[in-house]
Each structure stands twice: as C-alpha cells, then as structure tokens.
Amino acid sequence: MSTFYDEVQEIRGRYPEGTLSAVLPALRLAQERHGWLSRQAIEETAEALEVTPAYCYSVASFYDMFHLEAVGRHTIEVCTNVCCGLVNAQGVLEAFERALEIAPGETTPDGEITLRAVECLGGCATPTIVAVDHRYRQSVTPGDVPAILEELRSD
C-alpha cells in the first residue's frame, strides 16, 4: 500500500506544476484516512503539499465537508432544505434525534454516529435525502430511521 505522501504526489501530478490544486483532494484523502482533519492529519497534508498547516486550515475551514473536530465512525446527513422540507425532512431529522438522543451537529457518546443537518444534496425528486456515510438514501421517512440505525450499529 502506498503511503499518504506518495498518494498526494500522484494527485499533484494531475495538475500543473507549482499550483495548489491538489489541496482539496489531498485534504479529502487525509480525512478519509483519519476520519477527520485532526492536527496530525493537517500537518501530514501540509508536509506532502509543501504548504503551511495554516494554509490547509484556512482552506479546510471554508468547506462544509471537512471536519475540523472528531466525528463518529458513521455520519448521517439529513437534507433540510426547502424541497425535502416540504415533504417532512424535519420529521426525519427529529426521528434521528430521538433515536440517537443527540442534536444535529453532535456525535453519540460512544463515538459511533454523528448526526448533521445539511443543505440541498440535489436529490429533490425523492425527498427526504439522507446521506449515510456519504451514500444517498432516497425517499427516507421517519419510519425508515430504526432500520438505518440498526444497519449502522451492526456494521
């Protein structure tokens, strides 16, 4: 298995020399490896990209998908924009909140599941869209919540 450093160099090779275009893909790769962008993950990324950790932080903090705090082993992201909202996204979100006993933005005490509310995921014809570990589930209703959680907990 190639090292993180080598993989980042491969990514850099896709873009013109001397540009910083590899920053987003490298941060994504670091997050995939560490689960979130810990100080260590940021420093490794910065090292591989030959930029400062501060630069990596400044970029990462702009984007919603980068986690600068620890998240659970699984993430559940519920779209609560208008189109899903018209078809009971709030009910879906609340069903997750009740079952997990956490609020949006929080992680269960056992570190297993992070619940987030997110903006439009682009699946408006099949509301409510819930991204479970970044894979879209379509037409999710409050009734689907127990099965989704059961699936994650048995994983």
Partner: protein
C-alpha cells in the same frame, strides 16, 4: 428506496437520447445509441466551424445565467494568439436548491458529458478539461470517472486529458470565479470581473466554463444540426430542450426533458400529475431558490426565458418546485434566507451582513415580534444587497425574499398583527432546522426531557 424519475416528457430526446430507463454507463452501451459519432464528425471539422454551429443553434447556458454557449466559446483566444494553455472547466457543482438534473446526466448518460467535453475541447483547441463536481456526489463521481477511464482506455480522449476535481461542500463554488478559486486549491471566494475567465480563468489562462447540461447538449446540437436545433422550443432565444427539475408538493416529481416553451401549468399538472391529496398550489419556486417565487396567476407562463422574464421570473437551472397551501410563506422565505446566510462566502459586506439581517427580520416576523415597518425594512435590506456585490449570491437571497414579502404581503402582515404564525405547527415547513443553526441547539429528545 425509490429512484428518481428521469424521462423525456415530450418533444425530441436530445440530452436523454437513447436512454430508455437503463443507464448508458459503458462505452458499448453509449456507442450502440450513436455515441461519439458527433465527436468523430466534429474532429473532422475546422474548430471554428464547430463553434459556429453552436452559435447558430443559439444553445444557452443551462446552469442559470442562460448565456449563449457558442458566443462564450468564441471569446476564447485561439492558441496562435496566446502563449498559454487553454482550459475547459465543466461546472458540475450542482447545488442550487431544487436542482438535480446534472446529477442524472452523470448517472444515466455520463459518456454524453465526456463526448460534449471532447467536442468543446476540439472547438476551442484545448487539451485540458477539468470537471468540478460537488464533493457530495459520490455515485455520480464514480459513474463519470468510469466513463472517462473507459474513454481514455479506448483512445477516445486523444490528446485531451480530463480530470475530475471534487469539491468539498460549498454552494458558492457553483459561481464560476469561485469555482476557479476552489480549483486552484483556495477558499471558494468569487473574483472581481474583469478579467473574465475567457481571458484569465484558471491559472490565469483562458478558460471556458460551462454547466454539465450545456456541455451534454452539444452532441445533440451537432446531431440534429444547428438549424433544426434552433427551431425546437421557443425560438429565437430559448431554443432546444432542457431538463426540468420538478419537485415539492407534486404527484410525480422527476427530471423531465421537454422543449422550452411548455407552460408551468402543463409541466406541473399534465406531466407531474398535479398537487397530491386534494391540496392546492400556493406558489412555485421558479428557476431555483435564488429567484422570485411564482404565484398561481402566472402558471400559464411558457417556460422560456423571454416569457418568464416579461413577468419578472427566471428560468434559472430549470427548477419548478411546487409549494401547496399548507406552507407558511414566511417560513419558506426564512429557510431560503438561512441557506444563503450559511453559504455566503463573507467577502462582500452587503451579502455577509445582509443575509444575516434578513434571517433576523424574517425570524422576527415568523415569531410574531416584528412590527409593520419591519416589512419595509426587509425590502430595504434586499434593495441594499441587490447588485452591490462581486457575485450574485446576495441577490439570490434578496430576490426570493423580496418577492415573498411583496406578493404575500397579507400573510406577512397577518404574522405581525397576530403576533405569531397563523399556521402554527401545521405548516409543512414549521420548525424546519437549518444547518446555520447547528452551533446553538438542543435536540428534540433533550427538549422533551426538560
């Protein structure tokens, strides 16, 4: 788990040509419906002639701005005029609320996007294509990457390299200059224009930026010929078909390809089966959440840029989201404003401060603490945002909010007079959580325990 309905509603199948319910993911499947034939023909032509065909078709941008695609390509200097690489960036950052068509192109006919990229690359003599896809699109990325890899292995890319660049969650990166910043590995904050991307885009080089659907339409333009294409839809300005995104309180939501010029009513009632469960249409989120909402008296407006424009609407990214009578329009305006507050990049003060102010005002109206004069203040804030920033994100908050206050004045006034929401908890959007509030909250379970 249901699948998104994707089909040709009427008129010719152009973007969806050959798609009959089974995704055309492989090269063989795409070739079987005539795929890459237009690329072959285009490559046999002079690049300028290809641009000329797109100009004559009057294809216009499907991302929201409706700028003539061929003219945009003609702004790119030819390689003999500039000693820099020429780039194409495809905007696949589809994030406008209510928009879900580019995603279906990538999932159902990914090779058509690849073919469009390669035709465009030939036309402007570029060897470098970046497809900037929103980071949340995972299955879409995989389908598209599979198509690119297969095309490369088959030698179809030729001298052109296509790199799929994944975003990381930022609505603003759909704005073309923010996209370029993001592609360069920076925070996605828009640039001031000029210089325009055609002269100085990514890496300060000439860059053509087009939406996924625009690029995926190019093979069809060449297949039917520019003259025929220009007769489809609502010529001369709104030619061809487009993928309409129908959602909300409608029986058959989905992506429907249809010619420009069908009416909003036809799309909602005849194609989409109308408003379910005996409810009535109250408003339409027309074009996307960035634009003025449509009231029922305008449902017979044809879906073309001029007809919509004459009534103060925009075709945007082809969004038609139905809102029925159970919805409090103040809650709608608030949730829309919250979205733009969350997504404002913070660079320009009117947008950064104005979107926050709009949220505060609309929340006060919804909660019943606003006064009559706050409605005027809301419109005033909108007025002080529109046209005063580097990009249109602020306008995109102000236009829908102003339209709600203006067109549903009685409903806003009722909130003020009653000291609260007339709908109470019965509105479909009641209490809808917004990510912008994620930092200060208690869960419903915790609230119940108190």
């Amino acid at each position: 788990m249901t699948e998104t309905t994707v089909r040709v509603a009427e008129g010719p199948a152009l973007v969806l040509a050959g798609y009959d319910g089974a995704p055309l993911l492989t090269l063989d499947a795409y070739r079987a419906v005539g795929g890459y034939a237009q690329l072959e023909q285009a490559r046999a032509q002079d690049p300028q002639a290809v641009i000329q065909e797109v100009v004559e078709s009057n294809l216009r941008g499907r991302g929201g701005a409706f700028f003539p695609t061929g003219r945009k390509a003609s702004f790119i200097p030819t390689p003999d005029k500039i000693a820099k690489p020429i780039y194409i960036t495809v905007n696949a950052d589809e994030s406008e609320p209510g928009t879900f068509k580019d995603r279906e192109i990538m999932l159902k006919v990914p090779h058509r996007l690849v073919e469009g990229c390669l035709i465009a690359a030939h036309a402007i003599q570029s060897k470098h294509v970046y497809i900037y896809i929103r980071g949340e699109y995972v299955a879409e990325y995989e389908a598209l990457q599979g198509a690119v890899d297969e095309a490369r292995a088959a030698g179809i890319l030729g001298q052109v390299e296509i790199v799929i660049h994944r975003g990381a969650g930022a609505y603003i990166c759909g704005e073309e200059t923010a996209l370029l910043e993001s592609l360069e590995g920076k925070r996605g904050q828009p640039r001031s224009k000029p210089p325009f991307p055609a002269i100085s885009g990514v890496y300060a080089s000439p860059t053509l930026i087009n939406n996924v659907e625009s690029i995926a339409t190019i093979p069809a333009v060449l297949a039917v010929g520019p003259d025929e294409y220009a007769k489809i839809g609502a010529p001369p300005d709104s030619t061809g078909t487009r993928l309409f995104c129908l959602s909300g309180n409608v029986s058959l939501p989905g992506v429907y390809e249809a010619p420009h010029g069908i009416t909003v009513r036809h799309l909602i009632y005849d194609v989409g089966g109308g408003v379910p469960d005996g409810h009535t249409l109250k408003a339409v989120m027309m074009g996307g959440s960035s634009f003025p909402v449509m009231t029922p008296d305008d449902l017979d407006t044809p879906l073309d840029a001029n007809s919509l424009g004459a009534r103060g609407y925009f075709i945007g990214s082809g969004v038609v989201t139905v809102i029925d009578e159970r919805t409090c329009i103040v809650q709608f305006a608030l949730r829309v404003a919250q979205f733009y507050m969350h997504e404002s990049c913070g660079k320009c003060t009117p947008c950064r401060v104005g979107t926050r102010w709009l949220v505060q005002l609309l929340r006060a109206v919804e909660e019943g603490t606003a006064r009559e004069r706050d409605l005027e203040l809301t419109l005033d804030v909108c007025d002080r945002i529109i046209g005063k920033c580097l990009c249109v994100l602020g306008d995109s908050a102000a236009m829908p909010v102003a339209s709600c206050v203006t067109k549903f004045r009685d409903e806003f006034r009722a909130h003020v007079e009653q000291g609260g929401c007339p709908f109470g908890a019965d509105s479909q959007l009641a209490g809808l959580f917004a990510p912008v509030d994620q930092h200060a909250h208690t869960s419903v379970a915790q609230e119940a325990a108190v």
